[in-house]
């Protein structure tokens, strides 16, 4: 364990010349060196006025293109006819460029994301960091979905006042302020059944709490100071997604895991948590929630943090170059005089030690296939309206290898099937993090009463592709 005492910072990147022991910047007293702004005119004649006043308007569109909500952000009013233009554009675009998240209209640059059929559209006229626009819209979508318990046309129309209130606090004059759900919840309480009932009974409802968030001025902006829970508990979930490509020769081309450490915390006061892993070195790259202190991570690879209340993503990580994937899918296609014989076998390649559930194998029937007749010895085969063939296997049985077989009838005049479908595999394994990452221990400090701790792990298929 001696390596834990080494500085992770140097261990990881010993070569980088800028890495020193963490320290603050010192302004030296010589006045002569104080002013050295880069000459902007010289280096970048096109530099814009500084990036504020960026997003000018946000629209929420329904799945039919109807404007459900419009929030003007600056003095420059954006006419909502831009939505009609956008909708027209998104319909008329050829498939290949459909959904390009950043496009330019004749008057504005438009960012958009689509969540559950709702389009979040933001307009700007200035050059700005694109990720800021997109990232912000994603946060808006997350917060709304969190507040309204899901996203759809009705729920937004029913709660548009809350949506306006939220947007008001999340962005002012085109510049994002806070998107931290905990702070927002302090300012605007979510519409819940309890408050609705209360409003019926007492006739006194304000969905705004009377107090201002204490956190805005505290040094842990993601947490309110006076939190009280009758049952103190904290759960840590490891959620992993496995991305795999197996090429047509059956070679495992790529296998990578993207993981997430989710924490659901209901703790009173200002608790201080430390979470350590048994094998942190397997992680290739990590990203942290703002609450994580970097120094303990760098020196000892432990996560030290004051958690926000409720569910949040503590950390995400990537583990690359895995050697094994849990299940195999072996498709065989052979065509002869206008029909194509299909045979797909599925089985466990590397037993993860827990049951593999919800196994689904899907593939798109090529356009030249006129009809398909496929059956399986286990599970059910469905051919959906969009010509997706979906084979739901469920849990892989111990005694036999699931197999799907049958024939595809090709278009008139076509002898061979020339395109090769890609099989996409879905599954879920509860209780295992396939990367092998293991949680060491979780310490809770600064708690008035002892709390319950819980740990869980699961792995799902992300992009799990098998080419034929």
């Amino acid at each position: 364990m001696s390596r834990l005492h080494q500085n992770y910072r140097f261990l990881l990147y010993p070569l980088y010349p800028w890495l020193q022991h963490p320290k603050l910047l010192q302004v030296d007293s010589e006045r002569s060196t104080l002013l050295s702004p880069r000459n902007l005119q010289e280096s970048n004649p096109n530099s814009f006025t500084d990036p504020i006043d960026m997003l000018q308007c946000i629209f929420l569109l329904s799945d039919s293109g109807e404007v459900m909500l419009e929030k003007q952000l600056t003095g420059h009013r954006v006419d909502r006819s831009i939505c009609a233009w956008f909708w027209e554009q998104s319909i008329s675009q050829p498939d290949s460029f459909k959904g390009l998240p950043v496009i330019a209209s004749p008057t504005h640059y438009l960012f958009h994301i689509v969540r559950e059929g709702i389009t979040f559209l933001a307009c700007t006229q200035v050059e700005m960091p694109p990720l800021m626009g997109i990232e912000f819209l994603c946060r808006v979508a997350d917060v709304l979905s969190d507040y309204l318990g899901g996203l759809n046309e009705d729920v937004i129309k029913d709660n548009f006042v809350i949506v306006y209130e939220l947007l008001d606090e999340m962005i002012d004059n085109g510049f994002p302020l806070t998107t931290e759900p905990n702070i927002l919840r302090d300012m605007i309480s979510p519409p819940n059944i309890v408050s609705k009932m209360l409003s019926v009974v007492t006739g006194n409802t304000s969905n705004v709490s009377d107090t201002l968030p204490g956190a805005t001025s505290s040094c842990v902006p993601w947490r309110t100071t006076q939190l009280k829970h009758s049952n103190n508990d904290v759960y840590v979930n490891l959620i992993e997604e496995i991305d795999t490509i197996i090429n047509s020769d059956g070679v495992l081309v790529k296998c990578e895991i993207f993981g997430l450490v989710e924490v659901n915390s209901h703790l009173s006061g200002i608790p201080d948590l430390t979470l350590s892993f048994a094998n942190p070195s397997i992680m290739n790259d990590v990203q942290f929630h703002p609450c994580v202190r970097f120094r303990p991570w760098e020196s000892e690879q432990i996560l030290s943090f004051v958690p926000p209340d409720g569910l949040f993503k503590l950390m995400s990580y990537r583990v690359k170059k895995l050697r094994n994937c849990p299940i195999y899918v072996k498709p065989q296609l052979s065509s002869d005089s206008g029909t194509c014989r299909v045979n797909v076998m599925v089985g466990i390649r590397n037993d993860p030690g827990k049951a593999i559930d919800s196994v689904v194998v899907q593939f798109q029937l090529p356009p030249c296939v006129t009809s398909a007749n496929l059956t399986a010895n286990h599970g059910t085969v469905n051919i959906l309206a969009d010509k997706t063939c979906s084979w739901s296997i469920g849990r892989i049985p111990k005694d036999k290898a699931p197999q799907m077989s049958g024939t595809l009838v090709l278009e008139e005049g076509l002898e061979q099937l020339q395109v090769r479908p890609t099989f996409q595999v879905g599954f879920k394994i509860m209780g295992v993090a396939l990367s092998g990452l293991k949680i060491g221990k979780l310490d809770l400090k600064n708690l008035p009463t002892p709390a319950h701790k819980g740990f869980r792990a699961q792995t799902e298929a992300g992009f799990y592709e098998v080419r034929s």
Partner: protein, 838 residues
């Protein structure tokens, strides 16, 4: 607001279309306004909600403004919020009514609840009614000093809003100084951040007119302030961190120690969960190390992992934005990413635009050690159901092949593609083989073996067909049936839609003729006859040109058609490295996503004179009132669009060459551009030869008109008092293609005479060429001229950019009547060169 609702649905009960509902609401609101009965707030809330929902769907509810204000006396915060929202929406267009709201907003600004104080202040500043600004100063001043940080946060943004409505009011109240004080002293990070952004914008905009503002703006990027902000960076919200990082990127540390200190401090920002923060940090790292090559390279190493994590962690939209930036870096330094190629493999479900970016990157990172795997992967995509991706993949294989020397491996792949027997795969493969042969003629044997079996009947796409025909011509001696294949294609001349293919066919038959004359003779005759009768100008001209070339001298013809070729060493890159550098400078901006530097899409000037309005309109512009940025814009135009200009020039050369009167034997120097001159000057010789022999050989009966001289171009006369209004000019300028774009020169005397633009305008006017707009300052001037033909109302439009220090003039000429363009150019040039001579 109130454009009609865009809804495509039939109006549902909650979406009234008529005015009845609105006036109904008005009544109900009025009844409630004075009521103090219990439960009033609830009914109000329902009504308010209705009003807002009408507003949201786009129905004009501004008529209930006064009722809404009357109902606003309430302690219910939700009601207040709805009311603020309503007022903010309509005040700008109802300034008179907005006055009504001032009172209650001002009162709320003194409420004991800080939330209400803040909200009221925000609404007050969002009214944006210019003649109400005086009411803002008091509450804003109080807000900046408020004990609660929420109010101060709102107030600091409010100052900026005030500045946008009325800069003088904001500056007179000395708010910037207050903001600066807050920025340096406030304990709340969000207040600091808001003050910073407000100051940045205010000083940035004031800088053009005030020395003090320039100093203040520079002070923001001074070391003490930068260090002050950097040391606290973790206290700021993620969005404010982006602002600060952006600001820091404008600061140039004097030495490498300082650079390393800053990078050391920001190292952990690369692990932030917010992609915007990570990218802003990456931008800073890249910029800081630009002058240190080694470290710059290490920065690439360092940022790889976070970029790849962002690509896989975010939503598809985020991935795309990050991937675009990764693309930029990969294209800049492909070898640094060579080992990460697997991250660039396409996933089945990814949208086309993501896959396209990945394919381009895969192509770029291919090197000796990974090519085999990359090409194997690309070949899998070629069999993909997704046709555009299949095509792109084959192109990518082609590009990789062009970098490689392993002929056998590539030929194997080509065979694999052709075996798939898919039209589009075959088509792309043909184009690929053509490019390969142009670069590696020594591979002809292997390549020809591959494509020898393709029947031209199976190839439909013009590009592929042209490629096949080119190969048939170029390698006629290696391909057994080349003459016959060409003959078959000529037989179908009438059915061939693409002029490009017909042009290639002509050339290929010519080439083939010189290699295998007896077999091709008949085909060549048929091709020339078909070409001469062709309706397409270019095809016709080429056929005629070949015909006369053969007439003139067969061996000359051979050397023209089959010159000794040099293999293409490098294919022209589509983007100049200068442009790529510009995009890199603008890392973390939209430029990266559009793959264009920002001036290309934010600067309208670049797209033509669409904003003539900014130039002074009329014949007598006063140059001293022209805004300074015009010069800047002109400079950019002069400086940056060289590639584009060359392109359009080349294009124009073609056009004018083919558009020149076809059978004109007395082609004057005037109507033929220099490049084509020496070829065409063969003319006089061949007309003296009897043409019958060659006609006999190819069995051609040329129409008589072919050699009949057409009249010389008439002298161009211009109207002395033409009329064209600026809007018509703009419209025409947009619609017409550039017919000539060239460089002219003005004499040093002319430059001397051009003390003011007016001198030139008067001079040109003497030549019946009139100015419609002009602008610029020494040494760059820009003019838009126009002239009209004396006999018919056809216009000539000219954009003329004069650089008086280099004595050059760049001309872009557009004309209604293309045929008269050359005459006009001569006229214009001579007028211009006369300037100052008198």
């Amino acid at each position: 607001m109130a454009p009609p609702a865009q809804s495509q649905r039939s109006p549902s009960p909650s979406q009234p279309s008529g005015k009845g509902e609105v006036s109904d609401l008005k009544m109900q609101l009025r009844q409630l306004a004075g009521s103090r009965a219990p439960g009033t707030d609830d009914s109000k809330r329902d009504l308010f909600k209705k009003v807002i929902s009408y507003m949201t769907v786009g129905i004009d509810v501004s008529s209930v403004f006064s009722e809404m204000v009357m109902c606003s006396a309430t302690s219910d915060i939700v009601l207040k919020k709805m009311c603020y929202l309503y007022v903010g929406n309509y005040a700008k267009y109802n300034p008179d009514l907005a006055l009504l709201t001032i009172n209650f907003l001002q009162r709320d600004c003194k409420d004991e609840d800080p939330m209400i104080r803040g909200l009221a202040l925000r609404s007050l500043c969002s009214l944006r009614v210019p003649n109400l600004v005086e009411y803002l100063v008091g509450p804003l001043g109080a807000g900046l000093k408020d004990g609660n940080s929420y109010v101060r946060m709102v107030a600091s943004v409010g100052v900026l809003k005030l500045y946008h409505i009325s800069p003088s009011t904001c500056l007179d109240a000395d708010f910037p100084a207050l903001l600066k004080h807050l920025m340096l002293n406030d304990p709340d990070a969000q207040v600091v951040a808001n003050c910073l952004s407000a100051l940045q914008e205010i000083w940035g905009l004031e800088a053009s007119s005030s020395e003090e503002a320039v100093r203040e703006r520079e002070a923001l990027i001074s070391k003490p302030i930068i260090y002050f902000l950097l040391n606290r960076i973790k206290e700021f919200s993620e969005w404010a961190q982006c602002t600060i990082l952006e600001l820091v990127s404008k600061y140039a540390p004097p030495d490498s120690n300082e650079i390393f200190d800053i990078m050391n401090l920001l190292e952990d920002r690369l692990q932030h969960a917010n992609g915007a923060v990570v990218l802003a940090t990456i931008k800073l790292f890249l910029q800081l190390t630009l002058s240190m090559t080694d470290v710059h390279q290490q920065v690439y190493e360092r940022i790889k992992a976070p970029l790849l994590t962002l690509v896989s962690s975010g939503s598809p939209e985020q991935s795309y934005a990050v991937l675009s930036h990764l693309h930029l870096l990969v294209m800049r330094a492909p070898m640094l990413f060579a080992s990460d190629y697997k991250h660039l493999y396409c996933q089945y479900n990814e949208p086309f635009y993501v896959k396209k970016l990945k394919l381009e990157m895969l192509t770029a990172v291919a090197n000796e050690s990974n090519t085999y795997e990359i090409v194997t992967e690309l070949c899998e995509y070629a069999a993909n159901v997704d046709i555009p991706i299949a095509r792109e993949s084959i192109r990518a294989v082609g590009k990789i092949a062009l970098q490689q020397y392993d002929v056998n491996a590539i030929v194997d792949r080509l065979l694999q593609f052709l075996e798939m027997e898919k039209d589009y795969v075959t088509a792309e493969t043909l184009v690929l083989v053509k490019d390969l042969l142009r670069k590696y003629p020594q591979w002809s044997h292997d390549c020809i073996a591959v494509i020898g079996n393709i029947s031209s009947n199976n190839v439909q796409e013009p590009k592929a067909k042209a490629a096949l025909i080119w190969m048939l011509g170029e390698y006629a001696q290696d391909m057994q049936d080349a003459p016959y294949a060409l003959e078959g294609l000529i037989d179908d001349w009438e059915d061939e839609i693409s002029p490009e293919v017909r042009l290639h066919l002509l050339t290929a038959v010519m080439k083939c003729f010189f290699r295998r004359p007896p077999e091709t003779q008949k085909a060549l005759g048929a091709a020339l006859a078909a070409g001469l009768a062709d309706m397409h100008q270019d095809v016709h001209d080429r056929a005629l040109f070949y015909y006369r070339l053969l007439q003139h001298n067969v061996s000359v013809a051979n050397s023209v058609v089959n010159p000794i070729k040099q293999a293409v060493s490098v294919f022209a890159d589509t983007q100049s490295s200068e442009i790529k550098d510009r995009i890199f400078d603008e890392f973390n901006s939209l430029s990266v996503l559009y793959q264009k530097p920002s001036y290309m899409f934010t600067d309208k000037e670049h797209q033509g004179p669409e904003d003539l309005g900014n130039l002074s309109i009329g014949a007598e512009p006063a140059d001293d009132i022209l805004p300074a940025q015009r010069v800047e814009a002109n400079d950019k135009d002069l400086l940056l669009s060289t590639t584009e200009k060359e392109e359009s020039r080349a294009h124009v050369n073609n056009d004018s060459a083919y558009n020149a009167p076809a059978f004109d034997n007395s082609l004057s120097q005037l109507s033929v551009p220099q490049t084509q001159g020496d070829l065409v000057s063969l003319g006089p010789t061949y007309t003296q030869q009897p043409s019958s022999t060659i006609d006999d050989i190819f069995g051609l009966g040329l129409p008589v008109t072919a050699s009949a001289p057409s009249p010389a171009p008439p002298l161009l006369k211009l109207k002395t008092k033409p009329v064209l209004d600026p809007t018509a000019f703009q419209q025409k300028w947009r619609q017409l293609p550039v017919s000539v774009s060239q460089e002219g020169s003005i004499t040093p005397q002319g430059v001397a005479a051009m003390t003011t633009p007016q001198a030139l305008l008067r001079h040109m006017q003497a030549h019946d060429i009139h100015c419609i707009a002009s602008g610029g300052k020494s040494p760059n001037f820009k003019f838009f001229f126009f002239a009209q033909k004396a006999d018919d109302p056809s216009n000539f439009l000219v954009e003329c950019i004069i650089n008086s220090s280099t004595c050059t003039a760049q001309l872009k000429i557009k004309a209604d009547d293309q045929t008269a363009t050359q005459a006009f150019v001569t006229l214009f040039q001579s007028a211009l060169s006369n300037f100052g001579m008198a």
